[in-house]
Symmetry: C2
Subunit: 265 residues, 2 copies
Amino acid sequence: MSKGKVYIVGAGPGDPGLLTMRGAALLAGADTVLYDRLVDSEVLKLVPLGARKIYVGKVAGSGDNQGKINEKMASEAKKGRVVVRLKGGDPFLFGRGGEEAEFLRRRRVAYEIVPGVSSSLAGAAYAGVPLTHRDYSSSVLIVTGRDAPSKRKGIADWKSAAKAAETVVIMMGAGNIAETAKRLIEGGMRADTPVAIIQWATTRRQKVRTSYLGVLADAKRGLTVEPPSVIIIGAVASLAKKLDWFKVDGMTTLQETSGSKKARN
Amino acid sequence: MSKGKVYIVGAGPGDPGLLTMRGAALLAGADTVLYDRLVDSEVLKLVPLGARKIYVGKVAGSGDNQGKINEKMASEAKKGRVVVRLKGGDPFLFGRGGEEAEFLRRRRVAYEIVPGVSSSLAGAAYAGVPLTHRDYSSSVLIVTGRDAPSKRKGIADWKSAAKAAETVVIMMGAGNIAETAKRLIEGGMRADTPVAIIQWATTRRQKVRTSYLGVLADAKRGLTVEPPSVIIIGAVASLAKKLDWFKVDGMTTLQETSGSKKARN
């Protein structure tokens, strides 16, 4: 094993206060930090002045740079440096942390995984949507709207998903949400299943909208979903209107959506 | 709204370093802290000396005391106090935070939800099991092995669950895991699906065992699962043997399980 070490750290969902204490301590002691696009600038202020801060987020049109990130992590650690690989949310939930750990293991570079608050959970918390609730839901399916082309199986089995989980959370699903919603309805979910859409979760830009699955499925109704958004589908989403608490500049972030009433039909 | 306020805070999975910075700051400024059974004593040291620390974890045989917790939170806040309701893991994922928020809203007590690192995610991280992985899984079902008697629908639809999610995480499922595993196999999951069992996740008592779904389903094979355990089922669980990194007293926490080989049949 090399002298240096890589800490694969979840930076949390956006609000810098949701970084873990261990994550903060590791950043303060880092020689090199490789960070992603959605990491808050307040979090990066924890990095010492003399340390290398390397932005490795995707640049539009540049394709997949995971190979370069892997090589950089390993080469920095091989120089005996303390490397923090800082990722949005949690590194093992849609964070490609598994691939990075596999690479480091192959190269005999020591590493640790520091979990973080996933935006799936934090978005729910900041929108007032309990993912589970004794009266409504004891199962949560977290799924991505985008699938890796390399994956052996195809996109999620939405038909089973519609039956398996009382709460469905879709991450990175803004682009094809109408199609996804349609499949869930085909799978047996009711068109009047409540939906909460949380954009820019936990940040000062947070916006929460509530609607119904049938509205999402109908692209003509004009409910566009922009990234980055967490989409929560299930009876619990109706609680957003009641339990909503997060305020930006004194205002809660819940917005009335047009089309919600029509969706009940 | 009352002058006081209740902060429903996720304390994280066990390792006190996995508390969020916001959670730590709130504890340091609390007048009253109501805390659960699995909250680490190091976390409680953040509470100021003069503050009230009230243990509200379940005492064996005492039944459900949620009503008393609700009343205590509200009455402390109505006295103008800053109340931290400290819960293991994340308050909105099997944490009954939703019920507590509903109660506070009814009583017109101001509250905030501070998400935490769920033991479902942290257990995976500390066992070296990526819940998602481009090659194996892009969907995670998080489900409890125990269901609330008050819930309208019955226990999870394991048959659909077996098809819907490539990774299934079972929380609080130690008691009836053989039955659950049997249902998943009936639903179409292969008996040779890898399984990782993480007991006392992220703590110095952590133990990780790997096995196969067929072994879990067969109570006679003697693979007993003790609480508190996170059980991860899916191809990704096989990565525990490769990516395992967490050490207690210099030793990794992965243990060889008897019966694993037999399970492949």
